[in-house]
């Protein structure tokens, strides 16, 4: 039995998944799901106290602790939300008991795969973990078995597999570059050894590898023009999965891109990976900003908003430097918290109104005050209104860009404003006016949503100094 923190983070979800397959009482399994996610969060927090030394397969460093803690936290709150969400799905007959058993087990396996990918010290293992995460989410997206869900799952599966195949080719190229320097065998794939020898690796091979890795993992990050799977997968799967996809899986893929960006940055002969990320980030931001206006489905709307924000984050990390990296890290954290919080609200809204069509949802603040105002706060946060946390991180991204590349700041600001307008326009119709259409009372647990938005508000007003110091330290590490 592993007793170290990182071992527990991986072992708890696996053991729970094995248990959940055999539990047919859905109330019990939903509770077990949440309890296990909570234990995983505690194990992740223990990494702050005692940081284990890197092994051949697992690694805990200052960069991935941020990701792991964020992941396990949102994993836990989503499990709590999921418990109240699925009870309704079971009542309305959209899911059967057998499907729920499968759903819960898959949820834990997904958490396991994401943590494994973040903690992996071996680029092959990292690849395997991301592939496992992809396959589990494909199965979850298709779980409703409607036409739309099957199409979304198929599209996600095909595009995700192509991305993952390209990433494997890139991984093989990295090994080929490492082989003459660190020798044959497993060492050529160990991250800590690779980064130690990064300066001596063949730059031409590394460049080629990075292109493949960026295209491959970039597909999973949802960067335009590789984003086609993302809106469908978000819209058609169960809402807890949309929350986990947006809030976590995109970050996990981004973490993989960042690792390889570090590798290139440490090699003087290799191309600078920054401009590539900046370009893809800007294209995603502006494209998604305009696409927001044409959305008619509420979950698709926020899926496009995720593309927009991953664009901003990729842009910030592409700019590099302590300030932009800090802004990128902060924005990633804020986006994860806000977006999953919005999906918690949207999940219950769709259940209350029996529809996901924006045109058929009106006056939520009147019919469901808590949900409606929750959505308003969430959208205000994600659109970047002060004093919420996203405003601060976006402000940092913009101001750091103005200081260094004023010309790049112009498209960045335009993209932000376009998206801002679209979101306010849509939320106005959703939240205000006379309520129309069906309206069921909801038995929702509002706690996860309130916790997320509360954290975002607090972060906007006051960031604790230890957190700032930690992020600054990581931002310097990222170059």
């Amino acid at each position: 039995m592993p007793t170290s923190g990182e071992g527990l983070i991986l072992a708890i979800p696996l053991v729970t998944a094995a248990l959940l397959i055999f539990i047919s009482n859905y109330r019990l399994s939903a509770r077990l799901n949440a309890a296990s996610a909570f234990l995983t969060l505690l194990a992740a927090l223990s990494l702050f106290v005692r940081k284990p030394a890197p092994g051949p397969y697992l690694l805990v460093d200052d960069l991935n602790i941020v990701f792991v803690v964020l992941n396990t936290f949102v994993g836990f709150t989503t499990a709590v939300f999921s418990a109240s969400y699925i009870a309704h799905e079971l009542e309305t007959g959209r899911l059967t008991r057998a499907q729920l058993r499968f759903y819960h087990a898959m949820y834990q396996i997904l958490l396991f795969a994401m943590s494994l990918s973040l903690l992996a010290n071996n680029i092959g293992l990292m690849w395997v973990a991301i592939e496992l995460a992809t396959l589990t989410t494909v199965l979850m997206v298709g779980i409703y078995r409607t036409h739309e869900a099957l199409e979304a799952a198929w599209k996600y599966f095909i595009l995700g597999s192509v991305g993952i195949a390209l990433a494997l080719f890139g991984t093989i190229l990295v090994y080929m570059a490492a082989r003459p320097v660190v020798g044959e065998g497993p060492d050529g794939m160990v991250w800590t050894i690779l980064i130690e020898h990064a300066a001596k690796l063949d730059p031409a091979l590394l460049n080629l590898a990075f292109i493949f890795l960026l295209l491959g993992y970039g597909t999973k990050v949802g960067l335009a023009p590789l984003h086609a799977w993302l809106p469908d997968a978000h819209a058609e799967g169960p809402t807890p999965i949309s929350a986990v996809l947006s809030g976590l899986l995109l970050n996990v893929a981004l973490h993989a891109v960042l690792r390889f960006k570090l590798l290139l940055a440490a090699n003087p002969g290799a191309i600078a990976p920054g401009p590539l990320l900046v370009t893809m980030g800007l294209v995603s931001l502006i494209f998604a900003g305009f696409m927001l206006y044409r959305r008619r489905d509420i979950k698709r709307l926020f899926a496009y908003s995720s593309i927009e924000h991953m664009g901003i984050i990729a842009f910030a990390f592409g700019m590099g430097g302590p300030l932009a990296n800090f802004a990128g890290l902060l924005h990633m954290t804020m986006h994860s918290l806000t977006k999953s919080g919005i999906f918690f609200a949207v999940g219950h809204i769709a259940q209350a109104k029996d529809t996901q069509k924006i045109a058929e949802i009106r006056g939520l603040t009147v019919s469901h005050p808590l949900l409606g105002w929750g959505l308003v706060v969430g959208v205000a946060a994600i659109a970047g209104m002060p004093p919420l946390g996203v405003f601060m991180s976006e402000f940092l991204v913009v101001s750091s860009t103005f200081a260094r590349e004023p010309l790049l700041a112009i498209p960045l600001v335009i993209g932000l404003l376009v998206a801002f307008g679209a979101l306010l326009l849509k939320v106005h119709g959703l939240a205000f006016g006379e309520p129309t259409g069906v309206s069921h009372p909801v038995k929702a647990s509002y706690l996860p949503m309130i916790a997320h938005f509360g954290l975002v508000l607090v972060a906007g007003l006051y960031l604790p100094p230890p957190l700032v110091a930690w992020f600054q330290h990581v931002a310097v590490l990222l170059h």
């Binding site: 092959g124 494909v138 739309e148 198929w154 192509v162 991984t171 003459p180 020798g183 063949d202 959305r295």
Partner: protein, 220 residues
Amino acid sequence: MDKFAFDVAHFLAGSLVLVSLMLLYQDRLSALLNVFAFQAMVLALSVAWQAYAQGAPHLYLTAAIALSVKAIIIPVALHRMIRRLGIHREVETAINIGPTMLAGLGLVALSMVVILRVTAAADMLAREDLAFALSVVLLGLLMMVTRRNAVSQVVGFMSLENGLILAATGAKGMPFVVEISVAFSVLIAFIVIGIFLFRIRERFDSVDLEALDDFRGESR
């Protein structure tokens, strides 16, 4: 590595590219599956030869997996599936075979130019293997893009994975975990695809993805 071993490895990897090109112009599903089975057989031979030439016995296992799963089990299963669906006669292509072949040739040329230029420092066999592997990967991608039928897209994807295995075995001493994972991923992928195909058949009586496009949640 002596000259003979090098030539054989070269020949087998080159054949794999040729078979990939052959896949592009198959216009009947059953013929497509047969050519795919042949491609998997060539891959198995190529991997087995690498195992012998590199003195790496674990690669024989990879070859055996390629032979049993990809050359026999999957094609047989897919054959049965398409016959039950009654779609073994035709393959719809989104674009004509002529332009597709030209695009395929262009991709092979591209991968040769890119890889051979980039890897000037690496040893001869590794870089040529890599160039061939990238060709196979790109041809598999091309096939996935040009075909509309779910079964031929799956074949395109597996052909792409064959290219990845060629690359992985060509990289001498690459940790075994990767090869196994590739083989495993194919297996898992097949299971997933199988589930999806059956669900699609249940729901639509068709595996044409164009039929699925109509069900998108919002009109464009």
